[in-house]
């Protein structure tokens, strides 16, 4: 009995000591931190947190800032930057506008990347075999292992840049999965040859001249079996096409699908005019004549 009592008293006296020590310690740090928090105060706008919550959080850099946090700060400070978030689209835009108490004006069609090249490995001509660092950036620095200076290199720089898993190298050609693509433009910035360009998709499928080769027709043919040889057949069929820099091009701002354009697409000797988009039909093979010319 006595032992239990003594033990109890011992516990209580020690507990009191421990309690006092911890309370004093706690108060000491509380005061130090209180002073520090007053001295080192950082003012933060509550709207930044709200805007950040509305953003997708992919940190893709489509807006031109390093990440969503930076864009949120910038857009709160400067509302002109509203609507730069391509992945978030209209829903995000509305939420941000609501937070910042702004009205949204009309915006254009969504931008989507188009790969201006249609040469798969079988269509390309190689002068040598490249065995360096497997990135387009370093392959592009070398004089051409691949004959075409403008074609897709197929080392996946765009695939690595994509945060949405929507561009892949299929048979040596970058191919966009338009179902997943949010139009952030990371692939267009990553491509060292600038053959991925952002195009306003006013229709679900857009007709494109899938080539960037600016050489004359004869040189182009010596490099690739599916390049644009600037023969001008398409310009005779439809006003949609213009020849510039030895390359047929489409003015996407004034894009209208038409029967003449379809005819031009089917008449193209190298089959370089193709549809790109969510439900685009596969490109037709190049005409017999071209294959004979290659051989």
């Amino acid at each position: 009995m006595m032992f239990v009592l003594a033990n109890q008293i011992g516990i209580w006296t020690h507990a009191a000591n421990a309690g006092i020590t911890l309370v004093v310690l706690g108060f000491f740090f509380a005061i130090v931190l209180l002073i520090a928090s007053e001295k080192l105060k950082v003012q933060r706008d509550v709207r930044i947190e709200k805007v950040l919550a509305a953003l997708p959080g992919a940190n893709c850099g489509a807006c031109g800032f390093a990440g969503c946090q930076n864009y949120a700060e910038a857009v709160v400070a400067n509302p002109i930057l509203l609507g730069k978030c391509a992945p978030g689209g209209l829903a995000t835009l509305e939420k941000i506008a609501q937070t910042l108490n702004l009205q949204i004006s009309e915006s254009g069609p969504p931008q989507r990347p188009v790969v201006f090249c249609r040469a798969r490995t079988a269509d390309k001509i190689f002068c040598a075999k490249y065995e360096g660092i497997p990135t387009c950036l370093s392959a592009n620095a070398l004089p051409n292992a691949q004959a075409c200076k403008f074609g897709c290199l197929g080392f996946s720089d765009c695939t690595r840049a994509c945060r949405f898993d929507s561009i892949h190298i299929i048979d040596g050609l970058a191919t966009v999965n338009y179902d997943r693509c949010t139009g952030c433009g990371a692939c267009a910035r990553a491509c060292p040859r600038n053959i991925i360009k952002m195009v306003p998709f006013s229709y679900e499928n857009m007709m494109t001249v899938a080539c960037s080769n600016k050489e004359t027709g004869k040189v182009t043919r010596s490099m690739c079996s599916v390049g644009c040889i600037a023969c001008g057949l398409c310009t005779k069929q439809s006003d949609l096409f213009i020849i510039k820099d030895n390359l047929a091009q489409i003015n996407f701002e004034a894009y209208q699908p038409s029967a003449q354009a379809e005819v031009a697409m089917n008449k193209c000797p190298t089959g370089v005019i193709v549809y790109r988009g969510k439900t685009a039909p596969p490109p037709r093979p190049p005409a017999e004549k071209t294959i004979a010319a290659k051989a």
């Binding site: 421990a18 911890l22 928090s37 080192l40 660092i133």
Partner: protein
Amino acid sequence: MDKMYVLLMGFLSVVIVNNFVFTRFLGTCPYIGVSGRIDTAFGMGLAVTFVTTLSGVLTWLIDFYILKPFGLEITNYICYIVVIAGAVQLVEMYVRKFFPSLYDSFGIFLPLISTNCVILGVCLLINVFWLTDNLPEAAVLSAGAGIGFTLAICIMAGIREDLDLADVPQSLKGAPITLITAGLLTLAFMGFAGMIKQ
């Protein structure tokens, strides 16, 4: 002179031979998490060094002048945690005020310093296992632990920056190659064991 020698040996021991990351495997969370780029890693190392030094010295003072004389060693964990959490809060406010970009790149790892086992490890080793009996020794050992951590994380960040350009097999990309690198680095540092006789 003899005392200086002891301090120097203690410092070298805790930085290189008994490096907290390489031989005790403490603090591997930020060691893997924040070692993507050298400048961020160095900033993290400095923050950890500051916190270890401050909390090492403070906990030694508390342990030696309060806990031991009153027989309250049993409360040492809770006291250390209070000290560490307070020190981390201070560092966080300081970094947020004066280095906003560094604050952003640290992300969650800055508040996580408070649960970093290097720091509790330093406090426990100094006061409980090594039974350091003078303040200079405690200060040198705790600062050395932080510098050892900085060394480890900077070496790791340097290797990982170069690894970005290396042709790593698909199956080893990302975390696996990082862990293999950490293992090889540890093996190399294990080679220092036995250089300083206990």
